[in-house]
Symmetry: C2
Subunit: 609 residues, 2 copies
């Protein structure tokens, strides 16, 4: 029995009251952005959605994502009115002791993905919707977007992919209040233009008056009747601050609460009940998801000295772990024949998502898939993860369990030139709290590290290399996160060379010559860039007369060099070899030489101690 | 007198031959992606464009941007056929001794902006076109896009803004060859769908057969006749590898040159001349741009002890430098009332561009403006520059002269929560070769550092702070790039505290208490994070018993702490205070305390030496 239209109106009124009170109490926040969307949220939460009030993780729940995250007080209000949190709890908004933050984060258990960096919610919603398809659970995902954030290209990346994959259980609800933070939006109240954009991107789009309940209800009915397999966009003309005359459709009120002295007058305008206060949640039950699996191992079968690109070993390993763990899915941005995620596609076509050349949406979708219990492995050229750094940052705020694999790192890719070289990827991932960074140098360590990535719950970045490299390790070697490997060692070592990936092989090349000069080196494969093996590297440095050379195919700042320096502090002298200018096209070996990270440079650095 | 259609066809044939030969000679590259666009490029270069063959920087030149940068051999071929480079020079493709790289970079003087990270060219083109309007020069900008890269949302960010600003001198030419790197594209050959997307975004769009010269010519004529003030999109159905049967419309040939042994057969298919080999460039002359100005100063008028937010001082300073230097323009992503770039808007409305909530396009446009001699100052919340990290990276490859100002950094913003806090911005900018990072702590240093940013040619990042801070410096104090300031000093100093921005004030708070305990501290304001004042900080560390505390409102990796460690090496003991987990909403002071960067934490760190 759906909620009556008068009860929905009453819920809308109550949502407004919560939003005003909470922001005035907090002394900051965005009440006017809440009020424009209150009627839309009322219909979605109290008529359309099916969920189990007691269980945010019920797999059958419909999902709601507040892409316009600054309207967080409205979301907290909806949870209060749905009986999920206490009706007083919204007043704790933005306090240090509250999980009801200024923008939604999963510290509040009903929030799947953090929002507040605009234009990301539709991607996360698409991730949810793809998970629904994978798990064959008929839940819907509703994403509330602001009109201003539709200027973000990531919205259109998500839109085109949702249409490509024919996802009817994804709803974009656009709150067109015409006002941005600092001025009127680009398209102002032109809801038809928004609808035309969605239609051009393959959606079933309708326009409504976002404060007219019958129109909104009719539109949802029409979606059910006519939208077929198309994703659904409801473009609603609204007014910012609707219902409170001092705010309604006025500029200069973005992000400002009603002052305490004006609150009674504002609330007085919302004093009159509009219908019965009634709501019965409508749960969808009977669905379950695979439990977390028992720990498993994989079988590695490489021959020492054979060559293989770590990027190719990544593809091999991905298939092996996916055979053991059905939660693993893979996404790639039209580079699958370079990153070798195509091996996964061949083995598990239904669990692979071609995301085309749209990295922001790829990462946003991965975050949404993670929220539904999947373990997404996302691959592209390392350089192109820079396209999605905001989404990666927000994946961390979302506490997502996403694995990234960046291929084609550094100048060792050669002739394609600087636009294709990942040279700042370590610097991007190192600051992310809790992120693990793994950088294999051969096929065995790659396979083992992919398994370690699965075992770790959180964000993990794997850096793979374009050229082939010889297998260095035996198949049963273990590569725990936070460890390192000592590849060459003697009591007479003159210095320690800390390398990773391709530079491990340069260090090995340097070793023989240095040994013949009476300056043998210890070689450490720092396959775990974060956390780094502080004790191991420090001990090696101390045992080799306090001398370390760090060599990396990455810019000088933010990568392995900084990680080693942080680890060893002032106890060891560290010389750093890294790329220090914008590189150019050329043969890989010539570039390694030109930019100072080849075996010759290692030899010279060791000699100079 | 325009080139005849037969002569254009002949140019198309010759462009194909160059592209095949160069890639086979190089042993890598993307010939099939060149061949699909050869006829389009022929018409654009040899019939539509007006340029001075001898002068790439002639302000009247029409501009061409190869957004699908992997077709670089086609671009080099066009320059050869235009008489700009020697006809043999394309054979040097991808060599270490050549400026003809695998993807275009400005090492080749006719390239304005580097491409190769897909989906960025239209933004740069829009920047060029906006510069044309500012300077009142009627040049056109032609951007050649691939169909695959139109999946990038940044394309649609540029599209909607070009329409908003009514830019008719911008042409998007979309080469719809239907084949991506690893499979068919999302929309395959559906040129109408592409055209509908452009139309929904406010463009005048036409579809053509991209190998039919009369159709292409007619379309350009119709643009002139009917497109009015709308930006113009030519959506062309083409075949990858067109003209060579072993390549044409076949999968598996992306990024692969024709093998040496097959080249003669491929060239044989292109053996027959199609018309006369004639071309007369059609220059547009008589335009000039303002020269580089003489060095200038600004007047700073602050009172010591007064409080002002550095973000607000940024706006004040921007107006002052813009009064002196007409090349300065400002861009903001609907945060101008928070970053205070609105002060610039009020003073110079014609030189301010509201870019709405689309940071990728904002940075891409800035790169295009820089290519036309402007000095763009780009501002938004620091956190949201992560949205445009790929464009920032490519701005560096483009040798662009762009200044970025990120406001609302760190946990000191308070209640808005982690999505709004810039905590990885220093880590983003530090690896960029040549980038300068400036982080003022008060209004005086802010104003001076904005001036330093103007004086520096290259990428510069200014980090501004949300809360107000007291003025620390006298108005005539100078803040050279690479310097630092010692705010407190005695011969008895127990330790050095290196701080920047908001943490300078925490260090000052800590100072009195530590002095009363007999542990006076030296305080260094490291306003130049990159390059850092190595000598100054090292000397301070040595003079204070080898003890340094670094404290920053940034994640622990990649920021000031790493910069100081790199500077002092193993000569000083460094203790680092920084944010080490995902923060939450709360009052600024409480967050500084909770996340370990408040004066109390500084005091404890100093005590523990």
């Amino acid at each position: 029995m759906p909620t009556s239209i008068d009860a929905l109106k009453e819920k809308g009124r109550r949502l407004r009251i919560h939003s005003l009170k909470a922001t005035t109490e907090a002394g900051s926040g965005h009440p006017s952005s809440c009020l424009s969307a209150a009627d839309l949220v009322s219909v979605v939460f109290f008529r359309e959605m099916r969920f189990d009030q007691r269980d945010p993780s019920n797999p059958g729940n419909d999902r709601f994502i507040l892409s316009k995250g600054h309207a967080a007080p409205l979301l907290w209000a909806a949870y209060a009115e749905a009986g999920i949190i206490d009706e007083k709890e919204p007043l704790s908004l933005r306090r240090l002791d509250s999980v009801l933050e200024g923008h939604p984060t999963p510290r509040m258990p009903w929030v799947d993905v953090a929002t507040g960096s605009l234009g990301q919610g539709l991607s996360a919603g698409l991730g949810n919707a793809l998970a629904a398809r994978l798990d064959d659970i008929p839940f819907n995902t509703y994403v509330l977007l602001g009109d201003g954030e539709c200027a973000e290209g990531s919205v259109w990346e998500a839109a085109e992919l949702a249409s490509y994959y024919k996802i009817p259980n994804l709803f974009a609800i656009v709150d067109v209040n015409g006002l941005g933070q600092s001025q009127r939006t680009m398209d102002q109240f032109d809801v038809n233009r928004f609808a035309e954009k969605f239609r051009a991107f393959g959606w079933f789009a309708q326009t409504v008056d976002g404060h007219n309940y019958s129109e909104i209800l009719d539109a949802f009915d029409r979606f059910r009747r006519d939208a077929g397999t198309l994703p659904r966009a409801l473009v609603a003309k609204t007014f910012k601050g609707r219902g409170v005359s001092m705010l309604e459709n006025r500029e200069g009120w973005h992000g400002k609460p009603v002052p305490k002295q004006d609150l009674p007058a504002a609330l007085a305008e919302l004093a009159k009940p509009m219908g019965p206060d009634e709501f019965q949640p409508n749960p969808r039950t009977g669905f379950s998801l695979p439990r977390t699996l028992e720990p498993f191992d994989i079988k590695v079968e490489r021959k020492r000295g054979e060559t293989a690109a770590t990027r190719e070993a990544y593809g091999d390993a991905l298939v092996k772990v996916a055979e053991k763990d059905s939660r693993i899915v893979a996404l790639d941005g039209d580079t699958k024949n370079s990153t070798f995620s195509e091996k996964f596609l061949k083995a598990f076509p239904n669990r692979f998502f071609e995301m085309f050349i749209a990295e922001q949406n790829m990462v946003g979708v991965a975050t949404g898939l993670s929220a539904r219990g999947k373990i997404p492995f996302v691959s592209t050229f390392a350089a192109f993860f820079s396209r999605a750094y905001d989404q990666i940052r927000m994946a961390a705020v979302s506490r997502a369990n996403v694995k990234f694999c960046g291929s084609h790192v550094g100048v060792s890719i050669g002739e394609d030139g600087p636009s294709q070289m990942g040279l700042e990827d370590l610097a991007m991932f190192r600051p992310i709290p809790g992120a693990v960074i793994l950088y294999p140098s051969d096929a065995v360590s790659t396979e083992r590290l992919v398994l370690e990535a699965v075992r770790y719950r959180g964000i993990c970045y794997i850096r793979s290399t374009r050229p082939k490299t010889p297998v260095l390790y035996s198949n049963d070697e273990q590569f725990p996160i936070g460890g390192s490997k000592t590849l060459r060692k003697s009591v007479k070592d003159w210095a320690t060379v800390v390398a990773a990936g391709i530079t491990v092989h340069e260090a090995l090349k340097a070793s023989a010559k240095l040994e013949s000069e009476g300056k043998p080196i210890r070689i450490i494969d720092a396959y775990s860039v974060k956390p780094i093996d502080r004790e191991g590297i420090l001990a090696a440095g101390r045992e080799t007369a306090g001398r370390i050379v760090v060599v990396e195919d990455h810019y000088a700042e933010g990568g392995l060099g900084d990680a080693v320096l942080e680890a060893v502090g002032n106890q060891v002298k560290v010389v750093r070899l890294a790329v220090r200018e914008i590189p150019q096209s050329g043969p890989p070996d010539a570039l390694m030489e030109k930019y100072g990270i080849s075996s010759e440079h290692i030899i010279n650095a060791v000699r100079e101690f």
